[in-house]
C-alpha cells in the first residue's frame, strides 16, 4: 500500500512537472536575400511570410541556438551564439494573458555590451524577433519563443 501511494505521489508530481516544464528557445538568425532561398527552419515556418513582408529578406538561417527550461525563481543567461547573449527572467502570466503565457524581462547583449532592455508577454509557440545589427552578409536577428 505504501509503494502504491508513493507511485501516486510520483505520478502527481510528474504531472505537475510536465505542465511546469515550458522552455524558452532562442536563436541568432542571419536574414539574407538569395536567388534560391534555403528552406525556412521549422521553428519559424509559421512566421516566415510575416518576416519576409516586414524585413524584406527571403532567407533565414540559424547561426546558433539554445534552449533553457523556465525557472521562475531566478534569471538565466541564454547564449545562442558567442556574440549575442540574453539575460532572461521569466514568470508565468495571469489567466487573462492566456494559458501558457509568460512575462519575460529581457536584456540583449552584443559582445558584452548591453543594447536594450524590454518586457514582453509571450504565448506558447509565438516567436518574438529582435532586429539586431546589420552585417556585411545580411541582417542579424535574435528570436525567442516559449516552447510548451
Amino acid at each position: 500500500m505504501r509503494y502504491f501511494l508513493l507511485l501516486i505521489l510520483w505520478a502527481s508530481l510528474a504531472g505537475t512537472r510536465v505542465h511546469g516544464a515550458e522552455k524558452v528557445w532562442t536563436a541568432v538568425l542571419l536574414a539574407t536575400n538569395a536567388a534560391k532561398p534555403k528552406p525556412v527552419p521549422p521553428q519559424l515556418a509559421a512566421a516566415c511570410a510575416g518576416l519576409q513582408r516586414i524585413l524584406k529578406y527571403n532567407q533565414f538561417e540559424i547561426l546558433g541556438s539554445t534552449t533553457n527550461v523556465m525557472d521562475e525563481r531566478e534569471e538565466s543567461w541564454m547564449v545562442p551564439s558567442d556574440n549575442f547573449w540574453l539575460r532572461v527572467k521569466a514568470r508565468r502570466g495571469s489567466a487573462a494573458d492566456g494559458i501558457g503565457t509568460y512575462l519575460l524581462d529581457l536584456e540583449l547583449f552584443h559582445d558584452k555590451r548591453p543594447l536594450v532592455e524590454t518586457e514582453a508577454k509571450l504565448g506558447p509557440s509565438s516567436p518574438l524577433f529582435i532586429r539586431g545589427p546589420v552585417h556585411s552578409t545580411g541582417q542579424v536577428l535574435i528570436v525567442l519563443m516559449v516552447q510548451p
Binding site: M1, F4, L5, I8, G98, L115, T118, G123, S125
Partner: protein, 165 residues
C-alpha cells in the same frame, strides 16, 4: 424494643403472635391501608406458592458453560475491534489513492495543452529601454503574420572582418 415499622413488617408477614399480636392489632385497628397491604401480600404469596407447586412457572436451569460462551463472545468482539482500525484505514488509503489518481488525471487533462490544438499567436512588447542614447527601439507587431519585431536602430554596422559565431 421493636419499632413500629418492624412490628408492621412482622404483622404483614404473619410473624406476630400472642400478646404482641393483640397489642399491634389494637394499634392498627381502623387503619384500612394496613389491612389492605396485609391482604395483598398474603394473596401474592398464595399465588406464587400455588403456581410453583402446579408447574405453572418455567423451571430455570443453568445454561451449560454459560460463562464460557459469554467470554468467547467478548473475546471475539475485542479481536474484531482491534482489527477493524487497520482494515478500515487500508480501505480509506486505497480510496484516497484512487482519488489522487483521478485528480492527477483530471488536472493533466485540463491543464496540459494538447499538441493537436492550435495555440493562437500572442506576443506583445510592453516596455522597451535602450541602454545607450544612440540606440532607438520600436515595436512592430503583425499578428496576422504571426510576427512581432523589436526593431533596433543605431547599432554599429558589422563589417566582413567581424565573424558571426
Amino acid at each position: 424494643m421493636k419499632t413500629f415499622e418492624e412490628k408492621y413488617t412482622a404483622w404483614v408477614d404473619g410473624r406476630l403472635s400472642g400478646k404482641e399480636l393483640q397489642a399491634f392489632e389494637q394499634e392498627v385497628e381502623g387503619m384500612e391501608a394496613a389491612e389492605s397491604d396485609r391482604r395483598e401480600v398474603h394473596q401474592l404469596g398464595a399465588l406464587l406458592r400455588s403456581h410453583a407447586a402446579g408447574g405453572g412457572l418455567p423451571v430455570l436451569e443453568p445454561v451449560v458453560e454459560f460463562d464460557r460462551a459469554v467470554l468467547d463472545q467478548i473475546t471475539a468482539s475485542e479481536r474484531g475491534w482491534r482489527q477493524a482500525p487497520g482494515s478500515w484505514s487500508s480501505g480509506w488509503l486505497a480510496l484516497a489513492g484512487a482519488a489522487c489518481l483521478a485528480v492527477a488525471a483530471a488536472g493533466y487533462a485540463l491543464l496540459v495543452p494538447k499538441a493537436a490544438v492550435p495555440v493562437p499567436y500572442f506576443a506583445e512588447i510592453t516596455s522597451v529601454r535602450a541602454a545607450d542614447p544612440s540606440i532607438f527601439a520600436t515595436a512592430i507587431q503583425d499578428p496576422s503574420g504571426q510576427v512581432t519585431v523589436l526593431w533596433i536602430d543605431g547599432l554599429d554596422y558589422l563589417p566582413d572582418t567581424y565573424k558571426l559565431r
